[in-house]
């Protein structure tokens, strides 16, 4: 989705705006608008923020401020599958730090990188997925995996590698 044209992005933002312009005051519809735009594009490209600013008549700086404040928003493209690793307390004491390191190594991600070279996986860390009883928890797209360990991790990944090849 890297190469989505500006026209296409504008169209997506415009549609989201039509759905949410009824909010009063209008700015209270900003977060849901950004969420829906991100759902469609996968992330929030600069053009989408600019179009939102223009339609909602809110300074781009404010929108950028909101988009960078919340964890859910991404300003960079993401891979085909999103791996979400839970870094909550229960997961931490059950070894999610080692698991996360192992995941980054397995996917050959260096410091600061979150998407694999082939664009297949993007890794995100979240605060807590709330399934603490089955820690450590991982999610690939919408699928949950509990009690993940070094043995089950490669099996989970290969499931998604197989799908796309």
């Amino acid at each position: 989705m890297d190469n989505m044209t500006k026209e296409k992005i504008d169209e997506i933002v415009e549609r989201a705006y039509q759905r949410h312009k009824h909010h009063n005051p209008s700015q209270s519809g900003l977060i849901i608008m950004l969420q829906e735009v991100q759902d469609e594009i996968g992330y929030l490209p600069r053009e989408a923020l600019e179009k939102t600013s223009e339609l909602m008549v809110i300074p781009l700086s404010h929108i950028y401020g909101v988009a960078t404040f919340f964890h859910q928003f991404r300003l960079r493209p993401r891979g085909i599958h999103t791996i979400t690793v839970c870094r909550g307390t229960a997961c931490h004491v059950q070894g999610s730090e080692d698991l996360t390191k192992l995941l980054y190594q397995t996917l050959k991600l260096k410091d600061g990188e979150d998407t694999t070279q082939d664009g297949l996986f993007t890794v995100m860390q979240v605060r807590c997925l709330g399934a603490c009883g089955l820690a450590p928890i991982m999610k690939v797209d919408e699928e949950f995996y509990g009690k993940v360990n070094a043995v089950s991790l490669p099996k989970i990944l290969s499931k998604y590698r197989g799908e796309s090849s």
């Binding site: 005051p25 700015q27 209270s28 519809g29 900003l30 977060i31 849901i32 950004l34 969420q35 404010h62 401020g65 909101v66 404040f69 919340f70 964890h71 859910q72 928003f73 870094r87 909550g88 307390t89 229960a90 997961c91 931490h92 004491v93 059950q94 070894g95 080692d98 698991l99 390191k101 192992l102 190594q105 397995t106 979240v126 605060r127 807590c128 997925l129 709330g130 399934a131 603490c132 009883g133 089955l134 820690a135 928890i137 919408e142 699928e143 949950f144 995996y145 509990g146 009690k147 360990n149 070094a150 043995v151």
Partner: protein, 659 residues
């Protein structure tokens, strides 16, 4: 018939002209006319909801924890098996009963037969399970609901309510979880739902509702423990043409999932509490603010709101009372600080979620500057019971902390899950009686309560009652009710560092004590875990922590030093071991440990060798003491090793040891 539909032409309830007896009519009707036929129709609809459409009813827990343990595959297997056998049965996706350790959990019941529960069900075992149950055999059953004597061998199976995990529990919030279909408003009503709203709207003045809640002693379950009735009273008294009622479902504490569980299992109970709260304070518009990370919870709320709107329990002139109230479900984009009232308001308004100084409190100037009440999910879930049967709520708890609280047991505990117990239950009862003690026979070290603003308590606090004041007196808080058990393999300094890492990253940056102070604490703790700390650091941490606690703008900052302060207080020796002996007693802190291969356990598979990111592992000929043979085994070069732990994590035989 659908329980929500009119019984016959005589029913005059419509959205435009609602009937005040609409809910009462569903459960004991018809009320406006005499008709044996209509009465039978309604009774049959209720019976189907309570006992199932078919003789055989299978319930499977499909909330997030169930899904994480593979309940979707079990569901598919059950469906396939029923199809193969041409059996018509109700296969219900229900919420979670709190037994995370036993997920996926399946309950099978048959009319006039013993209902049974199976724990840790594997998809492959489903055919055998169904076969055995249909043949009247209790093989593989974890527990029975009640003994009816229809199954072979059921005498030997424990009764569900008597399982160690259930003993000592007292259910109010979770009473329907795992029992009803959370996406069905009919099911909730058949189980007594929306009777409290009916009572409030048709028989009580807002002041009476507030007085009832005040008298119950209910205190906010989100953490601070502010009396709910008083909060409502302030908002009711505030002047304003428009008022807002907000449900805080932005459960952000890591290790806490009671709100998710309640909302995924019984969303209408929370919605009912929200409607009653709105009536009490005089709000016409409401929000349910849900964390987007917990998507399933948000979806359940949306379905519940849709249904309530469709049947006139939200909207204009609810139950012909003249009361108008509507609700929007809003997805929080994820920020821990949103749990703070004023930050949440800021987020709903479309801003960065930054708290502001109080007063003015939201009760007088909240959302869009209007009087606003914000209540936690669990607080609202208690309201219906308080209205209908106050005794049930008040008869448990302590003098100052009435009722029950759902605690989430996680970490190094044998039975993980959510348990609803009377306030005042001791930590020991919760962890050892209900939770079954520390997992894998390890030694108890500490318990972390209250999330990132809470503290770590040592063994000497095990008999502390779980209530607001007791936990506070020990330097921790009850918070939302997360209970994380730490064992001897958990490093206490690392745990404190983990929380500071969390709060530093989650600090909104508005006030200096939190923005800069927490960073300094985190740096100091990092130094200590690297073996570069000094004894003076401990004094510094203590004074810095106290200053932040006193000066930060909101509860996030004020509570953030607690994990550090409590651990320094109760585990000073472990800090000193890191500082003076450069040793991590739990073998966790990477800079203070070394990895070695234990040749007697090693099978020479080479996984560690292949996974070492810096090629610090090579194969050497090693003499094995046990087999008296020379074999090629991996050896870790401690000079090169960066202690990433990947060999430790990947070794299938646990042959890599930490020293």
């Amino acid at each position: 018939m659908n329980l929500m539909e009119p019984c016959c032409d005589k029913c005059h309830n419509t959205l435009a002209n609602p009937c005040k007896d609409y809910i009462a009519c569903r459960t004991e009707g018809p009320l406006c006319h005499e008709s044996a036929e209509c009465k039978a129709k309604l009774a049959e609809a209720r019976d189907k909801l309570i006992n199932g459409n078919h003789d055989l009813v299978i319930r499977i827990g499909m909330s997030t924890c169930g899904l994480a343990s593979g309940s979707q595959e079990v569901y598919n297997a059950l469906k396939k098996e029923l199809d193969l056998r041409h059996i018509d049965a109700d296969l219900m996706r229900v919420g979670c009963m709190g037994h995370c350790y036993a997920e996926p959990l399946v309950e099978i019941s048959k009319r006039n037969s013993t209902s049974v529960l199976y724990g840790q069900v594997k998809a492959a075992a489903v055919p055998k399970m169904i076969e055995a149950y249909l043949n009247g055999d209790a093989q593989g059953v974890m527990a029975v609901r009640a003994r009816k004597g229809t199954l072979k061998g059921e005498e030997g199976v424990p009764i569900f309510e008597e399982l160690p995990f259930n003993k000592g529990q007292y259910r109010d919030v979770m009473v329907n979880c795992g029992v009803i279909n959370p996406d069905s408003i009919e099911d909730y009503i058949a189980h007594g739902g929306y009777r409290a709203v009916t009572k409030v709207l048709t028989q009580m003045k807002p002041e009476e509702v507030i007085a009832t809640v005040k008298a119950s002693g209910l205190r906010g379950r989100g953490g601070a423990g502010f009396p709910t009735g008083l909060k409502w009273d302030f908002c009711r008294a505030a002047k304003g043409d428009l008022k807002y009622m907000v449900c805080n479902a932005d459960e952000g504490d890591p290790g806490a999932f009671m709100n998710r569980l309640a909302a995924e299992g019984d969303p209408h109970r929370i919605l009912e509490g929200l409607i009653i709260a709105a009536y009490a304070i005089g709000a016409t518009h409401g929000y349910i603010f849900v964390r987007a990370e917990k998507l399933q919870m948000a979806r359940r709320f949306m379905t519940a709101v849709d249904a309530a709107q469709r049947y006139g329990l939200l909207g204009d002139n609810i139950l012909d009372s003249g009361f108008n109230f509507d609700v929007e479900v809003m997805l929080s984009a994820g920020a821990f600080v949103c749990g703070e009232e004023t930050a949440m308001i800021s987020a709903i308004e479309g801003n960065r979620a930054m708290p502001r100084p109080r007063p003015p409190y939201p009760a007088t100037s909240g959302l869009m500057g209007k009087p606003t009440t914000i209540n936690n999910v669990e607080t609202l879930a208690h309201i219906a019971t308080i209205i209908l049967d106050k005794e049930y709520f008040t008869k448990v708890g302590t003098e100052r902390s009435k009722g029950t609280k759902v605690f989430c047991l996680a970490g190094k505990v044998t039975r993980t899950g959510a348990a609803e117990v009377p306030l005042g239950t001791t930590i020991r009862q919760l962890i050892f009686d209900i939770g079954g003690g520390v997992a894998n026979g390890k030694k108890f070290k500490a318990v972390q309560t209250g999330g990132p603003s809470g503290g770590c308590l040592s063994e000497k606090f095990l008999d502390l009652p779980l209530d607001y004041e007791s936990l506070q007196s020990a330097g921790s808080i009850m918070g939302s009710g997360g209970i994380i058990v730490l064992d001897e393999d958990t490093c206490i300094v690392d745990t404190a560092k983990y929380f500071l890492n969390f709060t530093t990253a989650e600090s909104c940056g508005k006030c200096t004590p939190c923005r800069i102070g927490l960073k300094r604490i985190h740096e100091t703790l990092t130094r200590i875990t690297q073996g570069r700390g000094t004894v003076e650091d401990l004094d510094q941490l203590k004074s810095l922590g106290a200053s932040i606690g006193n000066t930060a703008l909101c509860a996030l900052g004020q509570g953030a030093p607690n994990p550090t302060l409590t651990t320094m207080n109760y585990f000073r020796d472990e800090y000193l071991a890191h500082i003076q002996e450069k040793r991590c007693p739990a073998h966790v802190c990477a800079d203070l440990i070394a990895y070695k291969v234990e040749p007697s356990l090693c099978i020479g598979c080479g996984l560690c060798y292949r996974n070492c990111p810096i090629d610090a592992i090579r194969f050497e000929e090693v003499f094995d003491e046990q087999t008296k043979e020379v074999a090629k085994k991996p050896v870790i070069d401690s000079e090169k090793c960066v202690r990433c732990g990947s060999c430790f994590a990947i070794c299938p035989k646990h042959a890599i040891i930490r020293e």
